[in-house]
């Protein structure tokens, strides 16, 4: 259990992120300077991203029993760090006018990213819990960040309390489930529950294992906001400042999904029919509930929250399919879809973030009326993101959905595919409703952009995301190949 230097090298990205957080703290400690803090955070995350990307080609090892640094985890480390960096950039103009200490936000962001990186690298309950709680703990802070400000636009306090209480309860589920699995298997690493049940080691019975697995799954389902554990999502999304919402919706979801994927693959949980059934029900319920709930929503954040419920349901289909399908196609599907989901969510929230600020959140659908004629580029990006969420070609969302369909067809999950189609059909309505609002004639001709230089960087982020959206939508082959390679490592 001793750490060697060769163990430290694979941990470089994690260490870099940690270093970033620490450095930012030191900077704040020496002198409060908003821009400097932001620059330090962004630079650190950027370096971590690059280093992780460079390491991908040659790193594949277990570092202590807790973390596995393989190509898959590095892939998601890259995505996580990059997303965190994007969110940091988006936060910069958003928080610029906050009547409070602004710098600590980036510390929280950095720490949350540490948690996320740990999560995507974990194949051990301890590291899962450590990562998850580091992430959650920081997010409570990020969600509640403008709580001191008198005229903060929304209800950060309410959001944070709700998130905290429910999330802690869910952590409780997960921990209890882990304890039961541990009682069954005697190890805290992700490992096959099934073998033990069937093997000679004294197991506690299949029913026991199922309860254990389902409790863990319930906890994870909460974090992924799968129905019926979804109810916190819209309130927390709505109440948080948009960059925090973005973080919650992207990194928070993706990290957890990677854990779920590794856990399901390692534990052979799908050998139990009960688990398959429950997961299928969760997927179907999430797809239908998410889309139906979003149907007539007037608040963009709530729409995106509900739609994220549905999207998590979509991805779950591929996870279920992984049990039936030979080869790694369904893992690739999950991976690609998560990537796509990150891009489009970042983009969609990014647009909302750019036109909002900490004192006035523009998250009502009417705020977007006529955006196409007032800020055509923003509207174009937003349209692209929404269409991608709806799964329309030319965008990465279509390729993602294609993957899901492919996995579903190979696994012959007809009922879930039907749910996917119905859900997507309903989804079209509310995505297009926003698009329609944007192309309507605007009553007033004011442009909805925040002031110059600060938001320029945010525009850059949106542009990068939009280009990614299109490139991956039109020519996804290179990324597909990469994903094919890394998925084989799970």
């Amino acid at each position: 259990m001793t750490m060697t230097l060769s163990d430290l090298l694979p941990l470089m990205p994690l260490l870099l992120v940690t270093g970033t957080a620490v450095l930012a703290m030191i900077v704040v400690g020496i002198q409060r300077h908003y821009t400097l803090t932001v620059v330090v955070t962004i630079t650190g995350l950027l370096i971590a991203t690059i280093v992780a990307a460079m390491m991908m080609s040659f790193t594949n090892q277990q570092v202590t029993p807790l973390l596995v640094i393989d190509q898959y985890s590095l892939f998601f480390t890259v995505i996580t760090c990059a997303s965190a960096m994007f969110i940091a950039i988006l936060s910069y103009p958003y928080l610029q006018n906050l009547q409070d200490q602004r710098e600590e936000y980036y510390l929280l962001l950095g720490v949350a990213t540490i948690g996320a990186v740990v999560m995507v690298s974990s194949n051990h309950f301890v590291s899962t819990i450590l990562g998850l709680e580091t992430l959650s703990m920081s997010l409570y802070g990020m969600v509640a960040y403008p709580v001191h400000v008198k005229d903060s636009a929304k209800f950060p306090l309410e959001a944070s309390v709700k998130y905290l209480v429910l999330s802690a309860a869910a952590s409780g589920f997960m921990l209890f489930g882990m304890a039961l699995v541990y009682a069954q298997t005697g190890t805290l690493a992700f490992s096959s529950v099934v073998e033990l049940v069937n093997g000679e080691t004294a197991g506690l019975g299949a029913g026991f294992s199922i309860v254990a697995l389902l409790m863990i799954i319930a906890g994870m389902a909460f974090k992924l906001s799968l129905a019926p554990f979804h109810m916190w999502t819209p309130d927390v999304y709505e109440g948080s400042p948009i960059p925090a919402t973005t973080y919650l919706a992207t990194i928070g979801k993706a990290g957890m999904f990677v854990v779920l994927l590794r856990f399901i693959e390692a534990s052979d949980a799908l050998e139990f029919e009960g688990v398959v059934l429950v997961l299928s029900l969760l997927a179907a319920a999430s797809i239908l509930a998410g889309n139906l709930l979003a149907l007539l929503q007037e608040n963009i954040k709530r729409i995106l929250a509900y739609s994220s419920i549905a999207h998590m349901g979509y991805v779950l289909i591929a996870i279920i399919a992984s049990f039936y399908v030979e080869g790694s196609i369904s893992i690739e599907a999950v991976t690609f879809y998560l990537l796509a989901y990150m891009i489009m969510s970042l983009g969609a929230f990014g647009v909302a973030s750019v036109i909002s600020s900490s004192e006035s959140e523009r998250d009502h659908i009417d705020d977007y009326t006529g955006l196409f004629w007032r800020s055509p580029w923003l509207a174009l990006v937003f349209t692209g993101m929404l269409l991608s969420l709806a799964g329309i070609p030319l965008t990465v969302g279509f390729i993602g959905k294609f993957y899901l369909f492919f996995a579903g067809v190979e696994a012959a999950l007809w009922v879930l595919l039907a749910a996917l189609i119905i859900g997507s059909g309903i989804g079209l309505y509310y995505y297009l409703r926003i698009v329609y609002r944007m192309v309507l004639k605007a009553d007033d001709a004011t442009t909805l952009t925040s002031d110059g230089a600060a938001s320029l960087s945010a525009y850059g982020v949106l542009a990068v995301l939009f280009v990614l959206l299109l490139i991956l939508g039109v020519y996804p082959a290179p990324v597909m190949n990469l994903i094919e390679v890394i998925s084989a490592t799970i």
């Binding site: 309390v161 309860v211 319930a218 909460f222 019926p228 819209p234 029900l281 139906l292 709930l293 007539l296």
Partner: protein, 616 residues
């Protein structure tokens, strides 16, 4: 010479195109020259072609131009087939057509739609020529639909009046019912013989189909459907009287002389098929008989000069059908030709009367016109005599032949003959009722300034008068066409029968004289009884056929259309939307905002999935 036959429809078609493309910008004389001239050219050419053809002694002549379409074995071409039958038809169409065109140059003189009128007329002639000259049924169908279209356009020529539009649409739709039946017949024939070339079809049918079997009967019935539609026979006769809404030259050309006889032509053209289906053939006769009687009754009750003539047309075509039904093919075609002469004459005459009376068409508002309108009177007189089959007028010969052929038929022949004779009796009554009321008696108030129009209206009338008188002596060269269908011996009718056939119309004329000429008998007295009143009303309405069809077809269709205007299928999707909405409203209520409620849902979810998982 014969190879130039494709020019026949081309001249009027060019006339049509030039008139349409200039769309009313040409001065009237030029329009008249193009309109009438193109048909005149066609007539001249047709006459030359006729002489060449008759001189050549050939039975038929085919001119192929180009293949219309070629899809697998389906290769109809723009090919023309000339034989005795199409020769007669083509001469009647171009000849009578030319006269009517000339007449129309005067008749339509004051109409703002002068150019439009002639463009439609030219198109009609072109289409009609296509119909009779086409060597395959698809080309025939092209002409068939084309004349229908022109008929529609010309009935609704005065488009500002909604009732004219209604009449036009009624004419088109009712005939379209027949056309559809005919189209299905075409499909059937093609499905069985792989060709729609008429001559090939007839040969193939003779060889492959046995007489009296089902298939030829069905095919013949379907074609008959087309024929009764176009020729206004029972049960599709209702459109023709309403079609009188068009200008009078139209009524003369389309609704008397040419188009309405297309059904007769079709049956004559495909007579082989009908001979293979004797039941259907006799049905043709019965349809003709019943139609001619019904129309005869109705004609006696009408007061509109053109409607009387219209019902008389229906009735006369009934004779032709009767003739077709009894196998008197050439007699029918003969009657077709003579009818074209005298009915065109009557209509044109009535046109002169109507113009002179300032568009008054009610005969009871006319009277004593014989002095004021001598030419009209003369044309009416000659036309009426021919119509009533007064001896040695044209109508006499042709009708005679049909009735004699009928009585020679075994079995039902006598009854058919008797019906035809009764019809002739009515013909006498209603024709001379018209004559006496309009041209004799006293003037009933309407001021009339004498003949309207110049030579261009009177000369055609005179030519038609001559034709109506002597047309019966023309020999139509159709023997070769019907060579294998018809017995060619002279009819040997007994003197008694001849006598009856001559006397009955005269009796009819006499009765008309007693009622309307000398007023010895009073219509009022006759009408006193309620039975007579009701009968009058019933006949006047055309035996209530319109009433019946309205209730059977029109009203239900309108009703269905009205109640389902919103498209019930669409409502279904509306329902889906509503369900989604309702589901949203329901489920969104679960988002109460209360933390404890959310916690409850999480806990319930946990219990639920564990229960499910463990139970399975």
């Amino acid at each position: 010479m014969l190879d130039l036959i494709w020019l026949l429809p081309t001249f009027p078609l060019l006339g049509f195109l030039s008139l349409v493309l200039t769309s009313g910008r040409l001065p009237k004389p030029i329009v008249a020259a193009i309109g009438a001239g193109s048909v005149g050219l066609s007539f001249a050419l047709a006459a030359m072609i006729a002489m060449t053809f008759l001189g050549s002694g050939e039975d038929y002549y085919i001119v192929e131009t180009f293949t219309w379409m070629s899809v697998g074995s389906f290769t109809p071409g723009f090919s023309f087939y000339l034989d005795g039958l199409s020769l007669v038809m083509m001469l009647v169409i171009t000849g009578v057509g030319f006269l009517i065109h000339v007449y129309a140059t005067g008749y339509m003189d004051e109409d703002p739609g002068y150019s439009r009128f002639f463009s439609y007329m030219n198109l009609f002639v072109a289409a009609m020529l296509m119909l009779v000259l086409g060597d395959n049924l698809v080309l025939l169908y092209l002409g068939w639909e084309g004349v229908g279209l022109c008929s529609y356009l010309l009935i609704g020529f005065w488009y500002t009046k909604p009732e004219n539009g209604y009449a036009a649409r009624k004419a088109f739709v009712v005939t379209r019912v027949g056309d559809t039946s005919m189209a299905i017949g075409l499909f059937l024939l093609f499905a069985h013989f792989g060709t729609l070339n008429i001559q090939d079809l007839m040969h193939a049918a003779e060889i492959e189909w046995a007489t009296g079997t089902n298939l030829p009967a069905i095919a013949a019935l379907l074609l008959l459907g087309g024929a009764v539609g176009k020729s206004a026979q029972l049960p599709l006769q209702t459109w023709l009287p309403d079609a009188m809404a068009g200008p009078t030259p139209i009524s003369a050309l389309i609704h008397a002389a040419t188009m309405v006889t297309a059904g007769v032509y079709l049956i004559a053209r495909t007579h082989v098929l009908f001979e293979l289906a004797p039941d259907v053939q006799i049905l043709v006769a019965w349809i003709g008989l019943i139609t001619l009687l019904m129309a005869g009754f109705t004609a006696m009750t009408q007061t509109d000069i053109k409607r009387i003539l219209a019902f008389s047309t229906v009735s006369q075509i009934g004779y032709m059908f009767l003739g077709l039904g009894v196998g008197a093919w050439s007699a029918s075609i003969f009657h077709l030709m003579t009818h074209a002469f005298f009915k065109a004459l009557l209509f044109l005459g009535s046109g002169s009367v109507i113009l002179a009376m300032h568009h008054e068409q009610d005969i009871f508002k006319m009277g004593a016109l014989r002095k004021v309108l001598p030419i009209s009177f003369a044309s009416f007189m000659i036309g009426s005599l021919a119509l009533t089959a007064f001896p040695f007028t044209s109508g006499f010969f042709s009708k005679d032949e049909i009735l004699l052929a009928a009585i020679e038929l075994e079995g039902v022949g006598f009854w058919l003959w008797l019906g035809g004779v009764v019809g002739a009796f009515f013909t006498g009554i209603y024709t001379f009722r018209l004559m006496f009321v309009v041209f004799f008696g006293e003037n009933r108030g309407h001021h009339c300034e004498g003949e309207y129009g110049g030579w261009n209206m009177s000369v055609p009338l005179m030519i038609l008068m001559v034709l109506s008188l002597v047309g019966g002596f023309i020999h139509i060269p159709v023997e070769a066409v019907f060579s294998h269908g018809e017995a060619h011996e002279e009819h040997h009718a007994s003197l008694l029968i001849e006598g009856i056939m001559i006397a009955v119309p005269l009796i009819g004329i006499g009765i008309a004289y007693l009622f309307y000429g000398s007023k010895t008998l009073s219509v009022e007295n006759l009408m006193a009884s309620s039975l007579a009143k009701n009968l009058h009303k019933f006949w006047n309405s055309g035996w209530g056929m319109d009433w019946l069809y309205d209730r059977l077809f029109v009203f239900p269709f309108m009703w269905l259309a009205r109640i389902n205007a919103k498209d019930i299928v669409d409502q279904f999707y509306g329902l889906v939307v509503e369900i989604n909405r309702a589901a949203h409203q329901m489920i969104v209520r679960s988002q109460t905002g209360y933390l404890r409620w959310y916690a409850l849902s999480v806990a319930t979810g946990l219990v639920l999935i564990i229960t499910l998982g463990v139970l399975l």
